[in-house]
Subunit: 301 residues, 2 copies
C-alpha cells in the first residue's frame, strides 16, 4: 500500500496530530460475519507502528490460531485473519451492531492504539468495489485481489452503492480546512477512486485545487506494487504518470512524479497543473519522509 508507506514518511515530518487520513472503504468485506476494513486497518496499524513490515498489512508478532478452527465450519480460508487482527474486527462488528457509525468506531480503534492522527473512513455508508475481469462475472474486490492475486484482464471497476453513499461531514471538512490535501501514490481506481466518486468530494477538492497534490503511483511505466498499471491498461488508458494525471485534472494543483519520468512534466503541466519530479521510491521510512518533505515544500506548507 503506497499510501501507508507515504503516511509513515509524512509523520516523520509533520506533527501526527495535524494529519487526517481519509480512507477507502470500498474494499471492506464480511468474513465469518465480521466486518473487515482492510484499508482502515492498514492505516491504523501503520500509524500505531504495529503493522507487519514484511507484508505492509496485518500486525507484527501475529498468531493464527482461530483461522484453522474456522475451517471446520467454513472450509479452507483464502483470506488470512490473524488472531490479534481478529480482535479489531470483533470490536468493529460489535460496535456496528450497536448502531455506532464507522467513523466513530474507527476513532475508538485509533484511540485504543494510541494514534494521534485522525483516521476517517470515506463514508459511513456501504460501498463495495467489484472488479470485472475478462470472461468472468464481477468479483468483490478481496476475491479479485487476495483470492485471485489480482490476476486477469480488468475490464471494469464497479463501485456498488456509490450513488447512494455520502461522504461524511468530517471528510468534507478535512478537505475544506486542511492546509494541504495529498493523494497518496495509491491505485486511482480502487483506492482513491471510491473516495473521489463520493458525491461532493471532487467538488470540495476542485475548490481547494491549489492546495491539492497527487503522487503518481506509476513509475517508469509500472506500479511498485499492486495492479494499478494493469488496470490502466485494461481500461484503455495510458500507463504513465500522464495517464494518471488526466484522471485528476479537475482536482489537483500539483502532480508529483518520479525522476525517471521527467519527460512527463511538460505534458502534465499542459493539463493545467504544476508538476515536479523527485525520488518517489519509498524503500525506507526516511526516503518516504524525503518524498513527504518535497511535496509539502512544493505546496508551501
Amino acid at each position: 500500500m503506497g499510501a501507508a508507506k507515504f503516511i509513515r514518511g509524512l509523520v516523520r515530518r509533520i506533527d501526527p496530530k495535524r494529519l487526517t487520513v481519509v480512507v477507502n472503504t470500498g474494499d471492506d468485506e464480511s468474513f465469518y460475519g465480521l466486518h473487515v476494513s482492510p484499508d482502515i486497518d492498514t492505516v491504523t496499524y501503520t500509524l500505531a507502528g504495529v503493522v507487519n513490515p514484511a507484508q505492509g498489512w496485518g500486525l507484527i508478532e501475529e498468531t493464527f490460531c482461530v483461522l484453522p478452527a474456522l475451517e471446520r465450519f467454513y472450509g479452507k480460508p483464502w483470506f488470512g485473519l490473524g488472531d490479534r487482527d481478529l480482535a479489531t474486527h470483533l470490536y468493529r462488528t460489535d460496535r456496528m451492531r450497536q448502531g455506532a457509525r464507522l467513523t466513530q468506531i474507527t476513532a475508538e480503534v485509533a484511540r485504543a492504539f494510541k494514534i494521534k492522527s485522525k483516521i476517517l473512513p470515506m463514508t459511513d455508508d456501504s460501498v463495495r468495489t467489484f472488479v470485472k475481469l475478462r470472461g468472468l462475472a464481477a468479483l468483490p474486490f478481496q476475491e479479485y485481489f487476495v483470492r485471485r492475486r489480482a490476476r486477469g484482464v480488468v475490464e471494469k471497476i464497479e463501485l456498488r452503492g456509490i450513488e447512494q453513499a455520502r461522504p461524511t461531514r468530517e471528510v468534507i471538512d478535512a478537505i475544506r480546512n486542511s492546509a494541504a490535501t495529498i493523494l497518496a501514490p495509491s491505485n486511482p481506481f480502487v483506492s482513491l477512486g471510491p473516495i473521489l466518486q463520493l458525491d461532493g468530494v471532487r467538488d470540495a477538492m476542485s475548490k481547494a485545487k491549489s492546495r491539492v497534490a497527487a503522487i503518481s503511483p506509476i513509475v517508469g511505466g509500472k506500479t511498485i506494487k499492486g495492479p494499478a498499471d494493469k488496470m490502466l491498461r485494461g481500461l484503455g488508458m495510458e500507463v504513465s504518470p500522464l495517464g494518471v494525471a488526466r484522471l485528476y485534472r479537475d482536482i489537483v494543483g500539483l502532480f508529483v512524479i518520479d525522476n525517471v519520468d521527467r519527460k512527463f512534466i511538460e505534458p502534465i503541466e499542459r493539463l493545467g497543473m504544476r508538476a515536479i519530479a523527485t525520488d518517489t521510491i519509498m524503500t525506507t521510512p526516511e526516503r518516504a519522509a524525503e518524498l513527504a518533505s518535497a511535496v509539502l515544500r512544493a505546496l508551501e506548507v
Copy 2:
C-alpha cells in the same frame, strides 16, 4: 457439569445415534458481540471427545491469543474464550445473523464435530437466567457463576423471557418419543429449571412419567460440583435428594440416589415415584457408564 460426565458414560452403553440431549440455553451470553452457548458447547465438545478434561468445559489443546488482544478495546476479560472455541461462537453468531434457528445451527456444529447424537437447544427463543443474591441486584448467570465464582446467598432465580419462549417441536417430540428421558445430575434451578419451565415440557414429561428418570445432584448433603446445594439452601429447601425429588414429583417415575443416601429411598417413594440407590459418583468414564447402565436397567430400556 454433571450432565456432561453422565453423557460421556451413557454413550459407552448405548449407540450414540440413539441419544438426544436437550440443553439449557438460559446460560447463553453475548461476549464481544458473539453469541456464546456454554452448555451447548460443553455437550458438543464432550460428545466430540475434545472437551478439556481438567476443566470439563472448553477445548483440549486450546490457545488464548485473541482474548488479550480484545483487552485493548474492552478492558480486562473475566470470561475465558479460547481461540478454537471462539471459532464456534463466530460460526454460531454468523448463522444467527443470517436468520438460522439455534436448533439448526447446533446441528450444523455437531455435524462439523462429527457427532452422531442429537443435541437440541431447549428453545430457539431467548431465555436469560439471572441470579438474585442477597444485597445485590439480579446478575446474569455468567456474571454470577464465572465472574463471582458462584459466591453469595442465592435469594431468587429469574428466568427472563421464559413465559414468551417456546420449547422447540424437536424437544417435545424427543420427550414424547424416546424410550427413556433422563434428567442428569444437574442443577435443578439453573440447568434443568429453564428446560422444565418451558411451556409444555413438564406436561410432556408427566405424560411419559414412567419412562422419566432423574439422578440426584445432591450426594451426602452437598453437590459434587456447582452451587445446587447453596441454591437449595438459599431458596429454603432441604439440601438432600428428597429436596430435589420434591421438585420433580409430577414428572419423574424413577429417582436415582447415591448409596450414601439410602435413607431417603422411602421418603422419596412416598412422593409417588420409584427410588433406587447406586454409586452416582462419576470419577471415571467407566463409573459414569456403570451409573448409566443402572438407570437404563431400572427403566427397563
